[in-house]
């Protein structure tokens, strides 16, 4: 387009000044050095006013013609790409300059009679005039039609501009030199430059230089061989805003053949927002990669669209292998018919359940799978997001738990059976073993009573021995039965006052205290959580023991009390006697069945009592132990658990 008016005016003045100088210098020389003879004075009737009029007029015409020609030349030079018929302007310029010089010759000839020179100048002017006139007459019709064309092209240019302005992208049209010839208003918005600032400037102003250097699709090379290039097919580029900010753009180039030569239309799209979105999406996708859970997306044709690292690990197919395949590669076995799953999915948008799938290696995996239906803006199903975590191990654990439960059940049944057997056994013991003993005892008695007078002392002593054996056998059976009964009896927890229980036990023991001096010292005793029937047996055994082993003492002293509990807050009960005690090195045998620390001749007993005591205390979640010294008495301690233990 044309240079700005200010620049143009400047050039006109410079032209005038130059021409004025050209004329003024010889004039000044003339007025100071030449004679007063004026060869052309005759023509001007020697009238100075007339002479001056011609002189000034010719001079001004000359100067104006030069200026006009200079302007035209400048115009043609500057606008050679846009100004049609510039050869015509050149012809006009030559013609005008020639005219100007004929006028200059008129001035010169006032002082110098250079008629030949003036004649040549006129001849040149005539040639230029004739040439111009002939050329004009030939080209006027074309000029007229071109002018009409130009008018219509201005209109279509306007339409084109409107079209450009309506484009969503910044449209920048450059010529093959890379100069901007047209931009749309979107360009102004995107880059921050006004149209005027851009026109005629190099495209690098908007898309920096280094891009053209590194880009294999650089417009420089493209410009020499332009062809259509679609948006996005190019590299990711950066645009430069007026304020210096760079921003990501996408650019598409297409050639436009015009009469003025080939132009390149570039559509430039600011993709800052999209890039941000893509970055966000990429970040989110990276997050999905962090999890070991298998995540994949399939479209409604079951074609896998997304496949995360977890899915790679779980199923064995890499992303590249999986994406594009159908999800049938997983050979999923569903817990319900697939149609039912799809029905639920379409209604609620969700489904979850356990699926058995097959990995690439052929291994079966069980996954807990959650499906989410992805819909597009119209609400149509678009894809399914499957989020699965491996529960194979859990299933295996569950299976093994089920198995061990089954085993446990079986064992518990076996235990029940063996308990029943034990019951039958103890029934059998209580019934069948007692009868023979009574039989022995009975007939020994009958023998002694009915036939005693026929037996000598020795035979009677043997009878006594038989009876003792039978009696001992009976006691053993009774106590073993009691122990067995304690073992299989469930604890019936009840809050029980120990003092009352002990008073009952002591009352029951009264026969054993006959003819003995026994002092009971009973301290404060708590209420405890226990099975009173079992506890009575346990305490009975303890107190009966204490009575038994204090028998050699003139005065038996038995102390029962409570010590402040241990760290667990349990109450500790003790029974202390001044009896014969025992050696602590045998303490480990104390609670064993049939284990005795004294001879039967000294202290009768079966060795079952303390075993029963321990069994009962253990059934209460407690413990029992003893301290003693030979001949210095013994102290038994016990603690009880509670029903909550």
């Amino acid at each position: 387009m044309l240079p700005r008016p200010t620049t143009q005016t400047k050039y006109v003045f410079v032209g005038f000044a130059a021409c004025a100088a050209l004329v003024a210098i010889p004039l000044a020389l003339k007025t100071t050095t030449a004679s007063n003879f004026l060869p052309h004075g005759f023509c001007y009737l020697w009238n100075p006013q007339l002479l001056t009029l011609h002189l000034i007029s010719d001079l001004l015409i000359f100067l104006s013609y030069v200026a006009i020609a200079g302007s035209l030349a400048f115009l043609v030079y500057k606008g050679r790409d846009h100004v049609p018929f510039h050869w015509m302007f050149i012809a006009f310029g030559i013609f005008i300059i020639a005219c100007g010089f004929t006028h200059l010759m008129e001035v010169v000839m006032i002082w110098k009679p250079l008629y030949w020179l003036a004649g040549y100048v006129k001849a040149i002017t005539a040639i230029a005039s004739v040439t111009t006139a002939i050329a004009l007459s030939i080209f006027v019709p074309k000029i007229i039609s071109d002018a009409a064309d130009a008018a219509s092209s201005t209109k279509s240019e306007e339409r084109f501009q409107t079209l450009l302005d309506s484009a969503p992208d910044a449209m920048v049209i450059v010529n093959t030199n890379g100069a901007i010839v047209l931009v749309n208003s979107q360009t102004e918005k995107v880059f921050g430059f006004s149209k005027q600032e851009l026109l005629g400037q190099k495209i690098e102003m908007l898309i920096p230089d280094d891009f053209w250097n590194i880009s294999p699709t650089a417009p420089e090379s493209f410009l020499s061989d332009p062809h259509v290039r679609a948006m996005g097919a190019g590299l990711e580029l950066f645009g430069l805003r007026k304020n210096g900010d760079g921003f990501p753009i996408e650019i598409s180039l297409s050639p436009l053949k015009t009469e003025e030569g080939t132009l390149v239309i570039s559509a430039i799209r600011d993709i800052t927002q999209r890039k941000l979105g893509e970055t966000k999406l990429k970040d989110q996708a990276e997050l999905l990669e962090l999890t070991n859970d298998a995540i994949f997306v399939r479209d409604m044709n079951n074609v896998i669209q997304f496949w995360n690292r977890g899915a790679e690990l779980r199923y064995g197919w890499s992303r590249e292998e999986a994406v594009g395949q159908t999800s049938s590669i997983l050979q999923s076995q569903f817990p319900e018919p697939l149609e039912e799953i799809e029905r639920k999915l379409s209604i609620t948008g969700h489904w979850e359940g356990e699926i058995t799938q097959t990995t690439r290696q052929g291994a079966k995996v069980v996954v807990g799978s959650r499906w989410t239906l992805q819909r597009n803006q119209n609400g149509d199903s678009k894809g399914i997001l499957q989020f699965s975590n491996d529960i194979t191990e859990r299933k295996r654990a569950e299976e093994s738990l089920r198995q061990s439960n089954k085993d446990l059940e079986k064992r518990s049944l076996e235990l029940e059976d063996s308990n029943k057997e034990l019951e039958a056994f103890s029934y059998s013991v209580s019934h069948d073993l007692r009868a023979p003993i009574r039989q022995i005892q009975g007939f020994v008695k009958i023998l002694a009573e009915d036939h005693g007078n026929q037996l000598d002392m020795r035979a009677q002593h043997h009878l006594t021995r038989i009876e003792e054996g039978a009696t001992r056998m009976a006691v053993l059976i009774d106590e073993l039965l009691a122990l067995a009964q304690v073992g299989r009896q469930a604890v019936r927890w009840q809050v029980t006052g120990l003092r009352a229980l002990i008073d009952e036990v002591i009352a029951d023991l009264r026969p054993e205290m006959q003819d003995r001096n026994v002092e009971w010292n009973i301290g404060n005793l708590p209420f405890v959580d226990c099975d009173p029937a079992l506890m009575k047996i346990a305490i009975g055994n303890l107190l009966s023991n204490a009575l038994k082993y204090t028998r050699p003492r003139a005065k038996a002293m038995i102390e029962i009390g409570m010590e402040s509990g241990n760290a667990g807050g349990r109450q500790r009960i003790f029974v202390r006697d001044n009896g014969v005690g025992f050696n602590m090195k045998h303490a480990n045998q104390l609670f064993g069945v049939f284990q005795r620390l004294h001879r039967a001749e000294d202290f009768e007993g079966t060795g079952i009592g303390l075993a029963t005591l321990q069994r009962i205390i253990q059934k209460h979640g407690g413990s029992v132990w003893a301290y003693a010294e030979l001949d210095q008495g013994a102290t038994f301690y016990f603690e009880l658990g509670t029903s909550k233990d």
Binding site: Y427, S430, H431, D432, R434, A435, P436, I437, R438, Q439, Q441, G442, F443, V444, K445, I446, T471, A474, D478
Partner: protein, 153 residues
């Protein structure tokens, strides 16, 4: 007192216990005639006049001493049959057993036993217990009316 009339039916499989029981009862002169059944089936045959007992004289014992652990038909079963029979259910039954299993005690009473005695281990006590039983059920206790009809099973 009709010496032919059976006073006690002793149902006991142990010959020793039969002997000891009879010895104890005789010693106190409490009873003249004791019939013995050695298992549950024999006891029922006796009471229902079946098999070997089909020709026995009419009439039922004043008391049945019943052991629980018996061959063929258990004491509990015998007890059930007797107590479920309208004719026989009035006969007093004393269970005498070595068992003191709770379930036997409970089951016996549920079936309507008149007394449940655990055979004492000690022979003296055993003898004493037998004496008490004979004294109570044959002397002190007012017995039900005599049963002169044959029971229908």
């Amino acid at each position: 007192m009709n010496s032919n009339r059976c006073e006690i039916l002793l149902v006991e499989d142990s010959s020793a216990d039969v002997e000891l029981t009879i010895h104890a009862l005789r010693k106190e002169n409490l009873v003249n005639k004791i019939d013995v059944a050695r298992d549950g089936e024999e006891a029922l045959d006796y009471l229902f006049f079946r098999g070997a007992y089909s020709a026995r004289p009419i009439g039922q014992p004043k008391l049945i001493l019943l052991d629980l652990k018996l061959p063929k038909v258990s004491g509990i079963e015998v007890l059930r049959e007797i107590k479920n029979n309208p004719t026989l259910k009035t006969i007093p039954i004393v269970v005498m057993t070595s068992s003191k299993e709770d379930k036997d005690v409970v089951e016996s009473y549920k079936l309507g036993v008149n007394s449940y005695i655990q055979k004492p281990l000690d022979f003296d006590q055993f003898r004493e217990t037998i004496r008490h039983i004979g004294m109570y059920w044959l002397v002190i206790n007012q017995p039900p009316p005599r049963i002169l009809e044959k029971p229908t099973p």
